[in-house]
């Protein structure tokens, strides 16, 4: 081998060329996102992320979404395209977070009240108010729309209201010598009946045990029923109260008495895996449980009763539910906002009927609009849905919107008392101090 043969200069690989090539490659890689964004902005359809369609396995829900988008696309220049994200990935995964963190968030997406402040404070929720008619605005009850509003402006259009109640197995009641007249009306009765229903193979009552937004959501009504709040009118923590202590104690007592499990099957929201499978005799679940049981446990007789109340307490339940929102930093925020308003908040009959169909055909939910409740007629007043509309729903309070930090403090308090056996009073006091420390430095939209 000679110098001539091995010289990089002669073989064409000079240091300069290597550097030039490297720079070109780096430039190309760095420029890709920019080119991608230009391409994205030019005439591409608006992306609508959710966990129902087109990949969902509940056909009526898939059809509802597809029909809605087809209806919009047939009459508008800016098209909308559905993008399915699995339920677990959407709610607890990183897909949505990473998309927004990289500036690639969807144009339209759905959020629950628990996530509202995170997205609003992040500046990515578009104001939908200009596109919603005043008549339609008035059609949303205050308790449903308030937690999607800031300074009188609407940032999310609710698609459903999902109040919580108790479901019970008729067979389990009969085996224990109980009947529908024995459904508990107070917390004491709830624990007493739960003990009677407990057997070596079954728990009497089931509350959610997995830490997360859903567990907090299901615990709030027990806090409210005794007059408790996590924030007072002065903006400071109100968590250190007798109402908080008794709500924490109720869930703790249920576990300590052996009438409630420490672990749920699939998730506390899954009525078929728990009540339907005979794991428990009573389960704290929302209105969606009706369609879940009708579709997957058709032959199992069950009943529904509203949440029992503490001594000297008042009946309240919590109403969750998701809402359509538009990305203020998306490629066409105005069109995205128009779509949200057109789909669920227009005064047109199609929009009202769409809400009715979602709450009766695709799911079993209470409608977020008065006109939809009227238009649904018997679908909302007969059978199991009738129990919700007449007995459960009238006491519905909107799911609170809290910053993630507040959620975590409350979640840790629930877990400590429920599964850790911590003293409820000490737990409430410690959590309240943490809340005060956070609230003193919080500067986002009001917590409701």
């Amino acid at each position: 081998m000679t110098d001539r043969q091995t010289s990089p200069a002669k073989s064409g690989l000079t240091r300069r060329r290597v550097l030039q090539g490297g720079a070109a490659l780096a430039g190309g890689i760095a420029g890709l996102p920019f080119i991608n964004r230009i391409a994205r902005a030019q005439g591409a359809a608006l992306k609508f992320w959710q966990f129902y369609a087109p990949g969902g396995d509940v056909k009526p829900q898939v059809k509802w979404f597809e029909d809605m988008v087809a209806g919009w696309n047939a009459s508008h220049d800016v098209k909308v395209e559905l993008e399915y994200v699995t339920n677990s990935e959407y709610m607890n995964g990183s897909k949505l977070s990473t998309a927004f963190a990289s500036g690639e968030g969807p144009d339209i997406f759905i959020i629950s009240p628990g996530d509202f402040l995170r997205y609003y404070n992040g500046g990515v929720l578009a104001d939908l108010t200009p596109y919603i008619d005043d008549v339609a605005k008035a059609d949303f009850p205050e308790s449903v729309i308030a937690n999607r509003m800031v300074d009188g402006k609407i940032y999310g259009v609710p698609m459903e209201v999902e109040p919580m109640a108790f479901y019970y197995s008729v067979k389990a009641f009969e085996e224990a010598g109980l009947n529908e007249n024995d459904v508990p009306k107070t917390w004491d009765e709830l624990l007493e009946v739960a003990k009677k229903l407990t057997t070596p193979n079954r728990y009497g009552v089931l509350f959610e045990t997995t830490p997360g937004y859903y567990q907090n959501f299901t615990w709030y009504p027990f806090l409210w029923q005794g007059g408790g709040e996590f924030q007072g009118k002065d903006g400071k923590s109100a968590f250190d109260s007798p109402a908080t202590v008794q709500a924490l104690k109720l869930w703790q007592d249920a576990i300590k008495s052996g009438a409630a499990p420490r672990q749920v099957l699939s998730g506390g929201f899954d009525i078929v895996a728990n009540l339907g499978a005979g794991y428990c005799a009573m389960q704290n679940v929302g209105v969606w449980g009706i369609s879940a049981m009708d579709n997957n446990a058709k032959n199992m007789p069950y009943g529904i009763f509203k949440l029992p109340t503490p001594a000297n307490g008042k009946y309240v339940t919590v109403g969750g539910g998701w809402a359509f929102v538009a990305n203020a930093k998306g490629k066409n925020p105005e069109a995205a906002a128009r779509f949200c308003a057109w789909a669920l908040a227009s005064k047109d009959q199609d929009s009202i009927q769409r809400v009715v169909d979602w709450c009766t055909v695709a799911k079993s939910d209470m409608p977020p609009r008065n006109s939809a409740l009227a238009a649904g007629g018997a679908a909302f007043t007969n059978g199991k849905m009738g129990v919700f509309s007449k007995e459960v729903h009238p006491g519905t309070r909107a799911e609170p919107r809290v910053p993630p930090e507040v959620y975590k403090i409350i979640s840790d308090a629930i877990q400590a008392a429920q599964l850790g056996g911590a003293d409820p009073q000490q737990t409430a006091t410690a959590a309240s101090q943490q809340l005060d420390a956070f609230l003193a430095s919080y500067s986002g939209a009001p917590i409701l």
């Binding site: 081998m1 043969q5 963190a101 992040g122 045990t209 830490p211 052996g258 499990p261 993630p404």
Partner: protein
């Protein structure tokens, strides 16, 4: 013969002239190039998907990041926050406990299984395949199946516990049992993988050593202590290193915890990697999460260095 032996004479470079300098043959040069080309894809992959994200995470750790495009430089505030965050210390404690229980358990079970199946025999292949089988299944599926098996009152193991008089016991719902239960499931899932690694190590030990020891009157236990274990040192080093890193920051651990307990009950299984994930993707504190991730990397590097120092990188005493 190593490459250095072929290319450089024993004289110093300063004293060699161009004429004296040995010329790299065309074939050697091609071998050298081929070697680097083989390594290149992996090196690039590591750089792009591991090295750069680590550097970015280190940088983001000095910012307050809301996840919607806002970056505010806060210097060491995120690191100071860790000091005052009881959940960070709880997560660190869970991680250390998990590793302290898991690493020895994997070592013993992996080596034990390897010793069990190395002798061959009629069903050796089938038994090896059985122990390795869990590795072929998605960890999410494994976690879900174990979750059902362990559930109180209705799960098979839950029922067994009740049958032997343990009462309704909640393996995943009791803060005192949840972590050790996860360790047990982790061992069950991973021991087949470590069995294979130990099998490779055992097969490298020449049979003559055992024969000589036998002639000298050594029994199986003596042979194990004085031949097997010392000659498995490189394998042991690899197993310890990989299992420590996996226990502290492995994706498998994250999947298992995330599906089976989601960090509960009462944060009893919220290992640092789970806490980092939740801070980033559920609470939106990307800066704080990045700072914790960077610290975890530094801690793992220190553990690795310590392990290198203690075992001399798994080399034999005569090396």
């Amino acid at each position: 013969m190593g490459r250095s032996d072929m290319t450089y004479p024993s004289t110093t470079l300063a004293s060699t002239t161009a004429k004296d300098r040995p010329v790299i043959s065309r074939r050697n040069r091609r071998d050298w190039l081929a070697g680097y080309l083989f390594v290149l894809p992996d090196a690039l992959g590591l750089l792009v998907f591991v090295g750069l994200p680590m550097l970015l995470a280190l940088g983001i750790g000095f910012f307050e990041v809301d996840g919607f495009g806002s970056y505010k430089f806060v210097a060491f505030k995120n690191y100071a926050r860790m000091w005052h965050d009881p959940l960070f210390w709880s997560a660190l404690r869970v991680t250390v406990l998990y590793a302290v229980m898991l690493v020895p358990a994997l070592y013993v079970s992996g080596l034990g299984l390897a010793l069990l199946v190395q002798r061959g025999g009629r069903f050796a292949t089938v038994i090896r395949a059985m122990f390795f089988a869990p590795q072929m299944v998605s960890l999410v599926v494994v976690a879900l199946v174990w979750q059902i098996l362990l559930v109180e009152k209705v799960g098979a193991i839950g029922r067994l516990a009740a049958a032997i008089g343990w009462g309704p016991v909640s393996f995943l719902g009791d803060p005192n049992l949840a972590l050790i239960t996860l360790v047990a499931v982790s061992v069950w899932f991973m021991m087949g993988f470590y069995m294979l690694i130990f099998l490779g190590g055992l097969q490298d030990i020449p049979g003559e050593y055992y024969e000589a020891a036998k002639i000298d009157g050594a029994g199986p236990v003596t042979s194990f202590w004085y031949i097997t274990l010392p000659l498995l040192r490189p394998t042991s080093f690899f197993v310890l290193l990989v299992s420590i890193v996996m226990a502290a920051a492995g994706g498998q651990v994250f999947d298992l915890i995330y599906v089976m307990t989601n960090g509960g009950p009462v944060n009893a299984t919220a290992a640092l990697i789970v806490y980092i994930y939740k801070q980033a993707f559920q609470l939106g504190a990307f800066g704080y999460a990045s700072a914790m991730a960077s610290l975890l990397v530094v801690m793992l590097m220190l553990v690795t260095l310590l392990l290198f120092a203690l075992t001399r990188g798994g080399r034999f005493d005569h090396d």
